[in-house]
Symmetry: C2
Subunit: 353 residues, 2 copies
């Protein structure tokens, strides 16, 4: 029968819908038609973006010319603006009754172009290139920490049109917000409650438990653990978490960054190998600005394959239906043989059921 | 510049992204290819579903034969099961550590087939048929109120594959849960807080304000108001709310049901006329079981067109980016001329901007 599972940090619920149990081949991922060719993020087209904020580039080359391998530009259509003269309770339409509160949309919105090559991706980059991308994530994260009126820094990556990517050239994004977002507050409150009761970081405890249990582990290296969380909302959802306690992503050191690059590439290869290159969101969860050394919080990266649809039931209740138990998902991801994934899959399904 | 808006009940935030401002023609809705033909919900195929729970049918016809106009059957792949021998903390995999809490997936999952005709829909049914559908919603809602261990009853409708409909035959669904879902708790807590401070139902206050303001109103009849909420998460999001204070949907009377049918049909016609038949979720929000007469809560129906993608930023923060201000959406919906919507739209866009 179906099982309700409670997410230990936020106390939200998911339904693991065993009546609908799904293996990888039940999610027929249609390869999106790629436009290919030259886009504004391609090498040689630097003039088609706003001037770059920063880039990693060969010595002697100039800003906004070729020679870079990771390049950051402002988003042309920012969700939040760097500057503005808006005032709260009124910007858009002058409304200011008690019931309706507004805030000017001040913040920042950057695009991190992950490669000069339009057709590369996290699983096909050189290992060195993946590490360079995360060096840039840290650089931008640290830089934004010092911007006035920024309370939270959200770095994320949308892969595939179904997951929200409007440009196919590999890129991630950073949106900095002038308030602590509700999902972050929810996690902080849950972690704080656990810390007060148990005197421990709940994420550190989760790492310990997942390692002992081992059924949900996807990958493991010196500094990081990758696992399908107990209360996975999405089929094949995978979290990547530093083994050492760190609340803010800005605290990651160089050697950890290199192991982060390695495990992210391994996990994306396992996901792509199992599921034929599915759309996914990759979402950094980190402490709010000024809380990077918090004892109760622990930054991590969530990879959310978008194989199911969040529909009426989910919007009404907040309870997400997931047809694939994380214990089954982890077996597929661990055992994925990218050379011959279909044959492998049949055998595995027999083992699981 | 963009504007952050706070939802008055839950205190969640949305970004009205004016830099990305979108009118109806910016959302090219591709008509989904309809399979048509006979499906398990079609008249004459009653044997292809589990035995019916209840139906409205012509006198003298038997259950599970033709002659019905609204028919309710159990979902073949229930998200929650009516019965089961599962026990908490263990059903699926015997896990029972403190960190990980489970609950058996007991509840109910029904399909309400809205018409014998495969190709009909809310906007093309006769007005009488739409009203009959909502009579059935009330009947099933009232019936489930008496089931043991049910704490919440979620009725919803997914229209279009992108919004999660796996069968195109018009139908809505009911999932009854053994706990009060987080979205519902959030609304109840917010409404309770307002009630304690102001001694009034926040939804009643919202109705009053929207009527006075009038910019966001989409439709209006004797018993119901339809408006685009101030903190709309989705372009063209529309709420339909009874003007009389009612916490539980089970309390709706016959004459109100008829006006509910009328306004829902009007709003779906306006949405389809403006947006070329977009996918949408229609979601009932009602008081939990046992709280139908609560002074602080107010049931309503939310229609959520699925024209944008909830992506990495939204999953990380809970802040949803909406490129269409509700004030603009309401103008389009109010003024929609379904005979000549493109011409109308151009004129309107000039008025708005």
């Amino acid at each position: 029968m179906p099982e309700l599972r409670q997410e230990p940090i936020t106390n939200n619920w998911v339904i693991i819908a065993t009546e609908r149990s799904k293996r990888p081949s039940d999610f027929p991922v249609q390869q999106e038609k790629r436009k290919g060719g030259k886009c504004p993020f391609c090498e040689g087209n630097e003039g088609k973006t706003p001037p770059e904020i920063v880039s990693y580039r060969e010595g002697g080359t100039k800003a906004d010319t070729p020679g870079w391998w990771v390049r950051v530009v402002p988003n042309l259509f920012p969700a939040l603006s760097k500057t503005g003269n808006g005032v709260g309770n009124g910007g858009l339409d002058g409304e200011s009754v008690d019931l309706f509160v507004t805030k000017p949309g001040i913040g920042d919105h950057e695009v991190l172009v992950e490669s000069p090559d339009h057709n590369s991706s996290l699983d096909t980059h050189t290992p060195k290139q993946v590490i360079e991308i995360f060096y840039m994530w840290r650089d931008r994260y640290q830089a934004l920490l010092n911007e006035k009126s920024i309370k939270y820094i959200q770095i994320f990556k949308n892969e595939g049109a179904i997951a929200g990517a409007s440009l196919e050239h590999p890129h991630s994004q950073l949106i900095a917000t002038p308030l602590i977002p509700p999902v972050v507050s929810e996690e902080l409150n849950g972690a704080q409650e656990y810390y007060q009761q148990q005197g421990k970081c709940i994420y550190c405890e989760m790492i310990k438990h997942e390692k002992e249990d081992s059924r949900r582990i996807v990958a493991d290296n010196q500094d990081f653990l990758a696992f399908c969380p107990f209360a996975s909302r999405f089929p094949f959802e995978t979290w990547i978490i530093p083994k050492e306690h760190q609340a803010g992503f800005d605290l990651i050191n160089d050697s950890q960054l290199e192991n982060m690059g390695a495990i992210v590439q391994e996990v994306t290869r396992r996901i792509n190998g199992s599921l034929n290159g599915p759309p996914y969101n990759m979402v950094l969860h980190s402490a709010p600005v000024g809380n990077s050394d918090a004892a109760q919080y622990h930054w991590h990266l969530e990879i959310l394959p978008r194989l199911t649809i969040v529909a009426g039931f989910e919007w009404g209740t907040g309870i997400i239906i997931n047809p694939t138990p994380p214990e089954s998902a982890a077996i597929y991801l661990r055992e994925t043989n990218t050379d011959n994934s279909q044959e492998k899959e049949r055998t595995l399904w027999q083992q699981v059921h």
